[in-house]
Amino acid sequence: MVGPGRNPARYEGPAVRFENVGLRYGRQTETLRDVSFDLEPGSFTFLTGASGAGKTTLLKLIYLALRPTRGLITAFGQDVATLPREAVPALRRRVGVVFQEFRLLDHLSAFDNAALPLRLAGLKPKAYRDDVGELLAWVGLGERMHAMPATLSGGEKQRLAIARAVVGKPDVLLADEPTGNVDHEMALRILRLFVELNRLGTTVLIASHDQDLVRQSGKPVMHLARGKLGPASVGRAA
């Protein structure tokens, strides 16, 4: 069974650290201001905030799709600002991302989509075929692995996007509104999936404005409002 595992790198500090990070898109006012936090290895955290608060922006900073306009971001102890370009792909492979709009590749089957990170890491099909099949079965897509994304339901796409994000056993899993397109029943199923992954060692950060889900999870919450991170709180256990 493919469970997410820990990367063997011998770094003991926080998986991700933000210190007074600011981000400005073009000339508008800062979208993020003085954002500081640590994601401890093995932690499970929710990132909440109204639509437009900057949740997606913050996640993008972590998976290096954006560079901060000021402040310091370290991933696994490395300052991302001084990271040479050649080192970025390897770092990205340690971070699994469930994009808000899934971003599945339409021309690839569910199986090939899920296997993508392993393929990009240079693994041969023979080496990952069984693992990917098991993972897809685990997220409930065992019967749909040859389907094309266009034929999948919203919930199936969501779970496929999750499978792709975790297939490479990343150290950190980022999920952007992973329950935004599914009913409450499916949202709870997906939440249980994340909790299971976290139990196996993956650091999880989920951006969500689904207050019910956050409350039910009983997990710590970071709240974004007007570009600033409010004091940490904890969702009430279900």
Partner: protein, 300 residues
């Protein structure tokens, strides 16, 4: 074969789908453009080979013989002057044969320049054709000395000047063809660069997802590189095939001599066209890679 064996066999045969979506209709137009460029490059290359062959041929013919024009003295007929010049030149070492041309032969020689007929009233110069030994041709100075010694007033047509002209023309034709081929190669590279740009723009979402999923720039560039190299190789085969058909047609039309005045094509030229698909693929790969790496550098 049992059901599970069948499933197992199918699983073993399974290959992941290509990372880039299959080619779409736009590629037809691109193959056409690159094929036309390859065709033109092949024609230019064949022209260079033919020009080279033509120049060599002319040079060979010209250096094999010399024309001498005898000027009759005050009490001499032109024919007699020609006879005397021929006699003077016959003994010179390096001369194999000397022929004084009669009036009709001289007219035939001049016909390409002056046209048929209408020469009756003109004083047609008396010409002496001197065949030279190809191994050790007589030098111009030796011919001059021999004519002077016998007191013959004659002009030796300056083939060295002609030879220089022919050589220059051959060099020019070759340089022109090489320059044309180089220009076409640049145009092909530019077309592929445009196509790579367009391809990456059309596939931006795919490229970005691959990029964010940890794909190395070089690996992404290789996807485009391989794709356009394949496309250019196909176009190269089409273009070179077209040029080969035309070249073979020219060669067949020119008969067994293979010496058509304008483009003396030879069967041995055709294998060179095989280089075209290889070169096209190489140029396309280089251009696509360069462009892709350049664009990827703009990705965060």
């Amino acid at each position: 074969m049992s059901e599970s064996n069948l499933t197992e066999a199918r699983a073993r045969l399974w290959r992941p789908a290509p990372l880039l979506p299959k080619e779409d209709e736009r590629d037809g137009a691109l193959v056409f453009v690159v094929a036309v460029l390859c065709f033109l490059a092949c024609v230019a290359a064949l022209a260079a080979l033919a020009a080279d062959r033509a120049a060599t041929g002319w040079r060979g013919e010209l250096s094999g013989e010399v024309l001498v024009q005898a000027r009759p003295g005050p009490n001499e007929t032109p024919a007699l002057a020609a006879e005397r010049a021929a006699a003077a030149l016959a003994g010179v070492p390096g001369v194999t044969e000397v022929v004084a041309l009669g009036r009709s032969e001289a007219e035939a020689l001049l016909e390409p320049w002056l046209g048929r007929g209408g020469l009756e009233d003109l004083p047609v110069p008396q010409l002496v054709v001197v065949e030279l030994d190809r191994e050790a041709p007589a030098r111009r100075g030796a011919l001059d000395t021999a004519l002077q010694a016998d007191g013959v007033d004659a002009v030796i047509h300056d083939y060295e000047a002609y030879l220089g002209d022919v050589r220059r023309a051959g060099t020019l034709a070759r340089a022109g063809a090489v320059g044309t081929a180089a220009l076409i190669a640049c145009a092909a590279a530019a077309v592929i660069a445009f196509a790579t740009r367009a391809g990456m723009a059309a596939r931006r979402e795919v490229v970005e997802v691959l990029h964010l999923s940890g794909a190395e720039d070089a690996m992404l560039a290789r996807l485009f590189q391989a794709r356009f190299a394949k496309l250019a190789a196909v176009a190269g085969v089409i273009g070179a095939g077209g040029a080969a058909v035309i070249a073979a047609g020219l060669r067949a039309l020119s008969g067994s001599g293979g010496f058509l005045p304008i483009l003396p094509v030879d069967w041995s030229d055709l294998p060179w066209l095989l280089l075209c698909p290889l070169l096209a693929a190489f140029i396309a790969a280089l251009s696509a890679r360069r462009t892709a790496m350049e664009l990827l550098a703009g990705f965060e």
